[in-house]
C-alpha cells in the first residue's frame, strides 16, 4: 500500500515539476502553426487525448493541471500548519481561558461547510476577477481556515500529553522560560501525528480546488490549467458521447487523491507497531536478553527496565493528588 501510494504520488509530483517539458502544448494554447486545434476533437496523433469544447488540448491541460494542484497543496498546508501548530502549542501549554476560547472557535469552524467558505473567500479575494494566484489563494485560504482547527486539535492534545511528562517539569524546575520550554521540549515531541494529517489534508485540498473549479469559481483557462474547471466545461459533453474531455481530468483527480491518501494511511500503520506485520518466533529460539545488574550497560536491560518503569509509574501517580 505504501509503495503504491509512493509511486502514484511520485508520478504526480514529477508531472507537476516537468509539466513544461512533458506537455505537447501550453495550457492556454488554442492553435499551433497558425492553425486552430478545433473543439471536441476525438483522440488523434496530434492530440493524444483529444481537445475540449473550448479548443484546448486535453493531455496538456491534464499535465499542467498537476502543477496547479501541487501549488494549492503547498500554499494551503504552509499557511495552515504554521498557524494551526502555533495556536495548538500555545493553547495546550498555557491552558486557561485562552485555551477554552480557541477550542470553542475551532469547534465552530468545524461546523461551517468548507465549500461555502471557499466560495466566499474566492469572491472576496478575486473580486470576481479570475487569475492564477487569485483562484489559487482563494482555494488555499479557504482550505487553510478549515484545516487550522485540525492541526490545532491534534497538536493541542499532544501538547497536553507531553506537558505532563517529567522532562517538561524538569525544564520548568531548572527555570527555563515558557517560550523556551514550548519550542525546545514540547514542540519536537508533539509532532508525531502531523505527517498523517498533512497527507490527508493534501488530498482534501485538491478536492476543494476541483470543487471550486467545478462550481465555476475556479481559475480561468487562460490563467492556469485546472482539473475542476475542465470537468465543469465537459459537463454537457458527457451526454453527447464525448467521453475524453471529462474522463482524463477526473481520472487525474482520483489518482492524485488516491496516491496521497494511500501514503497517509500507510504512515499511520508504520507508526503503530501493533499494525506492523510481525512473524512469530520459532520454537523457543533467540538468545536470553541480558538483564543482570552486572550487565547494566547493555541496551537490552535498558528496554527491560523501561517496561518495568512504565508499569510501576501509574501506580504512584496518584501520589501527586
Amino acid at each position: 500500500m505504501l509503495i503504491a501510494g509512493l509511486v502514484i504520488t511520485g508520478v504526480f509530483l514529477l508531472t507537476a515539476l516537468l509539466a513544461p517539458l512533458l506537455a505537447p502544448y501550453g495550457f492556454d494554447q488554442l492553435r499551433a502553426d497558425g492553425e486552430a486545434f478545433g473543439a471536441q476533437r476525438p483522440p488523434s496523433a496530434e492530440h493524444l487525448l483529444g481537445t475540449t469544447v473550448g479548443g484546448y488540448d486535453v493531455l496538456s491541460r491534464v499535465l499542467w493541471g498537476a502543477q496547479t494542484a501541487v501549488l494549492v497543496i503547498i500554499v494551503a498546508i504552509a499557511l495552515s500548519i504554521v498557524v494551526g501548530v502555533l495556536l495548538g502549542l500555545v493553547s495546550g501549554y498555557l491552558g486557561g481561558w485562552l485555551d477554552r476560547v480557541l477550542v470553542v472557535v475551532c469547534d465552530a469552524i468545524y461546523a461551517f461547510p468548507s465549500l461555502l467558505l471557499a466560495i466566499l473567500m474566492s469572491i472576496v479575494i478575486s473580486g470576481g476577477q479570475s487569475s492564477l494566484w487569485g483562484g489559487l489563494l482563494a482555494a488555499a485560504i479557504s482550505i487553510t481556515v478549515v484545516f487550522i482547527p485540525q492541526y490545532f486539535r491534534v497538536v493541542r492534545s499532544e501538547v497536553v500529553r507531553v506537558k505532563a511528562e517529567a522532562f517538561v517539569e524538569s525544564a520548568k524546575v531548572l527555570g527555563a522560560p515558557a517560550g523556551r520550554i514550548m519550542l525546545r521540549s514540547v514542540l519536537p515531541n508533539a509532532t508525531r501525528t502531523l505527517p498523517l494529517i498533512v497527507t490527508l489534508n493534501a488530498s482534501e485540498a485538491i478536492l476543494t480546488l476541483a470543487g471550486l473549479g467545478f462550481l465555476g469559481f475556479g481559475i480561468e483557462p487562460t490563467a492556469a490549467a485546472e482539473w475542476g474547471y475542465d470537468l465543469n466545461k465537459a459537463l454537457s459533453d458527457v451526454t453527447s458521447g464525448i467521453w475524453w474531455t471529462s474522463m482524463f481530468p477526473g481520472l487525474a483527480i482520483v489518482l492524485a487523491v488516491l496516491g496521497i491518501t494511500l501514503v497517509g494511511e500507510s504512515l499511520n500503520d508504520l507508526a503503530d507497531p501493533r499494525l506492523r506485520g510481525r512473524r512469530r518466533a520459532g520454537v523457543s529460539s533467540g538468545a536470553v536478553a541480558e538483564t543482570s545488574v552486572a550487565a547494566e550497560a547493555t541496551p537490552a536491560s535498558a528496554v527491560a527496565e523501561n517496561a518495568a518503569g512504565s508499569t510501576a509509574a501509574p501506580a504512584r501517580e496518584d501520589d501527586l493528588r
Partner: protein, 562 residues
C-alpha cells in the same frame, strides 16, 4: 501433599523487531496444595512471563514449549496448558487456576458493578444466575468486604484501592481453584494495606487450601508469605529453596547480592549519627533554607465542589546540608510539598519560605533566578528526559538556561565532570535516554539536578521505579554526592527503609497533616504516634523469622486501635 502445578522445562520466546528474544529458558517448578511458591527476580528476569504461561495468557508474539501441567482441584484430571487452546483453555482458567493482577484499579472494568463481574465468571462456568449471585455475595464477605449484600451492586470506583484488590482476589477465589497466580499483588498498594492483603492471601492458602504462585520483587513480602522461593535470573531459575533456608543460607552469589541490596530499617543510623556529630553548634541556630509554617495547598475542585486539601497546616524546616526524609502513603501530600517547594504547585495558604523567598503569592518571574539554587530529581526515570535529546544536551540545559553557556558544546567539559561524579562513563553523554537503563538514567537525572551546585535538592521518590539492586547503588551514590557537595535535601519516599538510609531527620505525613518529626533514630527507633507505629510495623522485613514476630506485633497494634 498433592501437586497442583508442575512446570517442566518451560521455554518462552518473543518475536521482536530485532529478532527473537528468549524470555524464559528451561524453567522447572512445582507447587503443592496449600503451598506458597514465591518467584523473585529483577524486572526482565522472566517471572511474569512464567506466571502468564501458567494460565495460557501469553501474547500472540510469544511461542512456548515444554510442559505446564495443571491438576484440577479434585486431583482427577490433568491438563497441559501449553498444548491447549481456545475453549479448552477457557474451561481450565478460573476453575483450575486463577490470576490476581498487579493493579486492582485497571483489573476491574469501571462500567460494570463488581457483582456483575464476579457473576460473569461464574456464569461462564455454567453456574445458574441466582446461585451465582448468592455465591458472589458469599465470597465478597469471605474476603472482608463489609455489607456484601449491598456492596455487590457498587461500581469499582466506589471502593478503596485495598478493597479493589480484595475484590480481584475474590474473583480469583470464586470458583475455588486449586492454584492462584498472584502477579505483584501488593506493589501498587501502601504498606498498611499491603499487610492486610498479605493476610488475606495467607487465609486463601490456609482456609481454601489453594496453592499460590506469588510473583514479586519485594523480599519483605516473600519473607512474610512464602513457603518456598525460586530465584529467577535471565530467564532461568538459579536457586530454589525453602524460605528460611534461602534467607539464612543463600547458595548462589546472585541471591546473596539480591538479599544484601534490600534496605533494612536501622541501617542508616550510624551514618546519620556521624553527620550529626560533625556539625557545630552554630549550625542549629543558622537560618533554615526551607521554612514552612502552616503550609496549605488546595487543589481547586470542579464547579460547585469544594477543593481538595492536599496539604493542611504543615510546619517544616530544612537547614543547610541536612537531609529531611518525608514519608507517607499515597495521597498523603508528600509529593505536593516537594512540588510546592520547587514552585511547581501554588501555595494556597500559610507561609513557605525557600531560600529567603516567600512562595505564597510569588510571581514566576521573581522566582526564576532562585531556581538555579534548587535541583529536582523525578520519580520516573523513563519520562524525566526529553527522548529526542542526548544526555549531554539535557545535562547542559541548566547552564544554558541560566546563561552560563551559549551552546551545549561550551558546557561539555562541566557535563563530563558531572557524569563522572555520578559514575557514568563520559561517552554516555552522546547516548539518547532510551539507550540507558533506569538506574543509569536516574544517575544522569542526579547529574542534571546537581549541575549548578544547588544548595537544595528535592528528590521525589527517586528510587521507587528501580529494582532493589539498582536502588541500592543509586542510594549509595546519593549519600556520596551529599557528602561531597553538601547540599540540603528533601527526600520523598513511601519506603521507610530507604528514607532511613539517607535521612538525618524524618517527617511522617498522613492525609496532608504532619504526624511526627524527629531524627531517624527517634522516629524509626521509638515512634510516639500510633500511625507511625502502624506504618513501621506494616513494613515487612526481609527475614522470615523476624517477620513472623512483627506480624504478631502488628496484629496487637491493630487490635489495640479497635
Amino acid at each position: 501433599m498433592t501437586t497442583v502445578l508442575r512446570i517442566d522445562s518451560l521455554g518462552v520466546s518473543f518475536a521482536t523487531d530485532a529478532g527473537a528474544v528468549k524470555a524464559v529458558d528451561d524453567v522447572s517448578l512445582e507447587v503443592a496444595r496449600g503451598e506458597v511458591l514465591a518467584i523473585v527476580g529483577e524486572s526482565g528476569s522472566g517471572k511474569t512471563v512464567t506466571a502468564k504461561s501458567i494460565l495460557g495468557l501469553l501474547p500472540e508474539t510469544a511461542t512456548a514449549n515444554g510442559v505446564v501441567m495443571l491438576s484440577s482441584r479434585d486431583g482427577q484430571s490433568e491438563h497441559d496448558v501449553v498444548a491447549m487452546s481456545g475453549p479448552a483453555l477457557r474451561e481450565v482458567r478460573g476453575r483450575d487456576a486463577a490470576m490476581v493482577f498487579q493493579e486492582p484499579s485497571t483489573a476491574l472494568n469501571p462500567v460494570f458493578t463488581v457483582g456483575w463481574q464476579l457473576i460473569e465468571g461464574l456464569r461462564a462456568h455454567g453456574v445458574p444466575r441466582k446461585r451465582a449471585r448468592e455465591r458472589a455475595i458469599e465470597i465478597l464477605g469471605t474476603v472482608g468486604i463489609p455489607d456484601p449484600e449491598e456492596r455487590i451492586d457498587h461500581y469499582p470506583h466506589q471502593f478503596s484501592g485495598g478493597q479493589k484488590q480484595r475484590i480481584v482476589i475474590a474473583m480469583a477465589l470464586v470458583l475455588e481453584p486449586g492454584l492462584i497466580v498472584a502477579d505483584e499483588p501488593t506493589t501498587a498498594l501502601d504498606v498498611t494495606v499491603q499487610a492486610e492483603i498479605l493476610d488475606l492471601l495467607r487465609r486463601c492458602r490456609d482456609e481454601f487450601g489453594a496453592g499460590i504462585v506469588l510473583i514479586t520483587h519485594n523480599m519483605g513480602v516473600v519473607a512474610d508469605l512464602a513457603d518456598r522461593v525460586a530465584v529467577m535470573y535471565q530467564g532461568r531459575v538459579i536457586e530454589q529453596a525453602d524460605v528460611r533456608t534461602l534467607f539464612s543460607a543463600p547458595q548462589t552469589e546472585y541471591t546473596r547480592a539480591l538479599l544484601d541490596a534490600v534496605p533494612y530499617v536501622g541501617h542508616g543510623r550510624s551514618a546519620a549519627a556521624a553527620r550529626a556529630a560533625a556539625r557545630t553548634g552554630e549550625w542549629s541556630t543558622s537560618a533554615a533554607l526551607v521554612e514552612a509554617s502552616g503550609l496549605e495547598v488546595t487543589y481547586p475542585g470542579r464547579l460547585g465542589r469544594h477543593g481538595f486539601h492536599a496539604v493542611r497546616g504543615v510546619d517544616l524546616s530544612i537547614r543547610a546540608g541536612e537531609v529531611l526524609g518525608l514519608v507517607g502513603e499515597s495521597g498523603s501530600g508528600k509529593s505536593t510539598i516537594g512540588r510546592a517547594i520547587a514552585g511547581l504547585t501554588r501555595v494556597t495558604g500559610g507561609s513557605l519560605r525557600v531560600l529567603d523567598h516567600e512562595l505564597n503569592g510569588v510571581r514566576e518571574r521573581e522566582f526564576r533566578a532562585v531556581r538555579s539554587r534548587i535541583g529536582f530529581v523525578f520519580q520516573d526515570p523513563a519520562s524525566s528526559f526529553d527522548p529526542r535529546r542526548t544526555i549531554a544536551d539535557a545535562v547542559a540545559e541548566p547552564f544554558l538556561i541560566h546563561g552560563r553557556a551559549e551552546h551545549p558544546g561550551d558546557a561539555r567539559a562541566q557535563v563530563d565532570e558531572l557524569l563522572e561524579a555520578v559514575q557514568l562513563p563520559r561517552a554516555y553523554g552522546d547516548r539518547f535516554p532510551f539507550e540507558l537503563s533506569g538506574g543509569q538514567r536516574q544517575r544522569a537525572s542526579l547529574a542534571r539536578a546537581l549541575a549548578l551546585r544547588p544548595e537544595l535538592l528535592i528528590a521525589d521518590e527517586p528510587t521507587s521505579a528501580l529494582d532493589v539492586s539498582v536502588q541500592a547503588r543509586v542510594l549509595e551514590l546519593f549519600a556520596e554526592l551529599q557528602r561531597e557537595f553538601g547540599f540540603a535535601c528533601l527526600f520523598i519516599s513511601h519506603d521507610l527503609a530507604v528514607v532511613d538510609l539517607v535521612a538525618d531527620r524524618i517527617a511522617v505525613l498522613h492525609r496532608g497533616e504532619l504526624v511526627e518529626v524527629g531524627t531517624s533514630a527517634e522516629v524509626l527507633g521509638d515512634p510516639r504516634e500510633p500511625y507511625t507505629q502502624r506504618l513501621l510495623a506494616s513494613l515487612p522485613v526481609p527475614d522470615p523469622v523476624a517477620q513472623a514476630e512483627r506480624r504478631e506485633t502488628l496484629r496487637a497494634l491493630r487490635d489495640a486501635e479497635r
